[in-house]
Homo-oligomer: 438 residues x 2
């Protein structure tokens, strides 16, 4: 992955001054990496190199991902499924409707929406013929996430009713020795642990993401390799070569200039779920009522997701004409595996100039060039993250750089990148309504 910041709207001096402030934190990250293990708040950076985890995931995959597998059902919400969905959608999921005969497919069940759940129940009752077609992975770090436990109950009832002897079709991923872990043990259901200090939004390379992705046939070795490569780069003390440091500094400088919104503008529609995963990463890591000194600051940058070229036809007018309150990161791929050619002799000639004899990617690149040129002329700051290709390795590199970026950005904001105290506010209220039977 290549980071380009020449249009970021900040000078090299400004960037260097702030980047230097991150020096001590980089040293801390290096120590966490050197020590290994899962004791530090930043310990998620050790996941991609954890060989024991990898063996555990592979064993579970061999045990459960049988050859007739058609659907991997992922029950989880937020940090428990966003990373998995990001990778799955980017590599295959976006085209699932176009490939009705390709299996296994992943299905994600997150909210308790009654309409969706009743269709899901019908799917289990009518579309699934044999238990081996399904593998169900329920994921909840705490083991007490309301939506996930409700969905676990509903799907359990339907599935067990049809296939009472198919306990081997279930895998539960949760904190070791959580209540859910113990219930799984009692029932004889397989379980995978999550290291206690790895929070949901940093957990994609733990069993939370690796197991379902491996079971769905994704090249998880490639993912791990890409994430490890990114770790090396993001620990580099050569600041101009460190994409996490540079991008965090740019986001912070632009926030100081009133850019309250960070738009991740993905020029491949199949990357939309990566943008949604990043929303949680930035929203929860930087959005803080109090800073590390317990002073009320209401820090935060609102992450938004745009898709090229779809959202040029919905949001470009606002971005180019409206308030200058956004900093953008364009994400695109350098190399494309296959590029449909546009005929030299058009069937509908004279409508758009310059497309005959080119290709889909040529047109997309021209649109991207056009957008960048107009951002420049409107003085709208942007960065670029350029992936080498759309492989598991390149994708994981991006996700890992973004996690490092967020740890660095939280340092600059002087907030805790790893907690989410205000989420308890609505959860407490929700519990009150649930327990009062309202």
């Amino acid at each position: 992955m290549q980071l380009r910041i020449e249009n970021c709207g900040a000078s090299r001096d400004q960037i260097l001054a702030l980047a230097l402030r991150l020096g001590p934190y980089l040293e801390r990250l290096q120590r966490v990496a050197d020590e290994g293990g899962y004791d530090a708040a930043e310990c998620s950076i050790n996941l991609p190199g954890d060989e024991m985890l990898w063996q555990q995931v592979q064993r579970m995959q061999r045990k459960t991902a049988t050859s007739g597998l058609k659907y991997l059902i992922d029950i989880g919400i937020g940090g428990s499924n966003l990373g998995t969905k990001a990778v799955y959608d980017a590599l295959v999921g976006y085209a699932d409707l176009l490939e009705p005969h390709r299996f296994p497919k992943m299905l994600f069940v997150d909210t308790n929406d009654p309409e969706v759940l009743s269709r899901f129940t019908r799917f289990l009752e009518q579309t699934i013929e044999r238990p081996e077609e399904v593998l169900i992975n329920a994921i909840s770090k705490s083991g007490s996430t309301t939506e996930t436990i409700v969905n676990l109950e509903l799907i359990w009832r339907t599935f067990q009713h049809r296939f009472p002897d198919a306990l081997d079709r279930w895998v539960i991923t949760t904190d070791y020795q959580s209540k859910l872990w113990r219930l799984a043990q009692e029932k004889g259901i397989s379980a995978l642990p999550i290291p206690p200090k790895v929070g949901g939004r940093y957990s994609v390379f733990s069993a939370v993401g690796l197991f379902p992705l491996a079971a769905a046939g994704i090249d998880v070795s490639g993912l791990r390799e890409g994430a490890r490569d990114a770790c090396t780069r993001c620990l580099s003390a050569d600041l101009w070569q460190n994409p996490a440091v540079l991008s965090a500094v740019v986001l912070f400088l632009q926030h100081q200039q009133g850019k309250m919104i960070h738009d991740t503008f993905l020029f491949h529609p199949e990357l939309e779920s990566c943008g949604k995963w990043y929303r949680q990463l930035m929203g929860e890591s930087i959005g803080k009522e109090k800073n590390l000194d317990e002073i009320t600051v209401h820090a935060g940058i609102t992450p938004t997701v745009s898709i090229g070229s779809t959202d040029l036809h919905s949001m470009a007018q606002l971005t180019l004409g409206g308030p200058n309150d956004k900093v953008t990161t364009f994400i695109w791929c350098e190399s494309i595996a296959i590029d449909p050619p546009i005929p030299q002799l058009l069937a509908f000639p004279g409508l758009v100039d310059g497309i005959a004899g080119t290709s889909a990617n040529t047109v997309m690149q021209a649109i991207l060039q056009g957008v960048k040129a107009s951002y420049r002329s409107h003085r709208l700051p942007f960065m670029e993250m350029i992936l080498a290709d759309l492989s598991p390795k390149s994708l994981a590199e991006m996700l890992q750089v973004q996690m490092f970026q967020m740890m660095c950005l939280a340092q600059l904001f002087h907030v805790n990148a790893f907690d989410q105290p205000n989420v308890e506010d609505y959860k407490t209220e929700t519990r009150r309504f649930l327990e009062s039977g309202a």
Copy 2:
């Protein structure tokens, strides 16, 4: 649809003062409705009552939507497909993967992403067996939208190569007598017109949306009825009963208080595409460099989309703890067709209190109540749009209210709700890159 504004953070006096300013504009809208036809800028409000349009769409549907139809392919981008996708996803599309044997399904092709297009080509070559399984509707108001024309060329070549005699499987929707219209005529392809003054983001109830939805088996009569009901309410001079006026006033007042972001928080995941349609509606209608007096204002509110309860697990920390720069509209349904019960005797007891013996919707409602309570205690302003149910009628009511809301909001901002001049900026740049062969 019910609008609730008791938590909107503005007093009745403030609201009334601004609402009264909209009086003359309501009179104008009433005149446009009384006169009928498509001469005025606001003429899209006459679409749901246009009987000739409806007959035209039904004729085309009878002619093309044959009984063996499996896939309705919608080639369009922005205003040409967002409304169609909003309705389709809300009513059936969200569950398409769960219902592999239900047809027809809609497939949307918008960008020129090479990877997606090559999978699409393979789909046409390998999954489709007979031409009757497919109906292709290419939609471009101007007839010269780059992405749409490129996709039209690519899909035309693949499909015509396989089925050279299947011209009846194509329908083109474009401005009457555009270049594309004339090319369709020459080739003997059916075409449907769009009234010239109906812009993309206001076109869902024109042939742009009605035809593909009808062909896909959606109850389009219900849609038209809901939209007509909404027209009556949004023209009401009784301001306290007029949801478009009230909600526009609240958004404007909150913008004056520094709420630069409007979050549409949909508590049914199948409504996500409605939120994306609304992004274009608000982004392009209000995001303006210049106001009606040609004074540079850089007006705009950034629309965001959240999904309940998914995004409580990603954005709640930012919203509750971070900067207070958002006004929210919660959208949810009063009545649910089917509500999966949660067993009294839980399989995994002791994890979440209060869920045993309730139902999926009870839990979702408790979460929504919890969220609203925490918004109130954090003094975060919000409105609620409460749909009677998830029927075509209720859905269309909401879309139509939102279109009226945007016309009123543009009046308050003193900007043109119907143009998008800055979009030309990047298009000009893109053409330059395309024509130079870069």
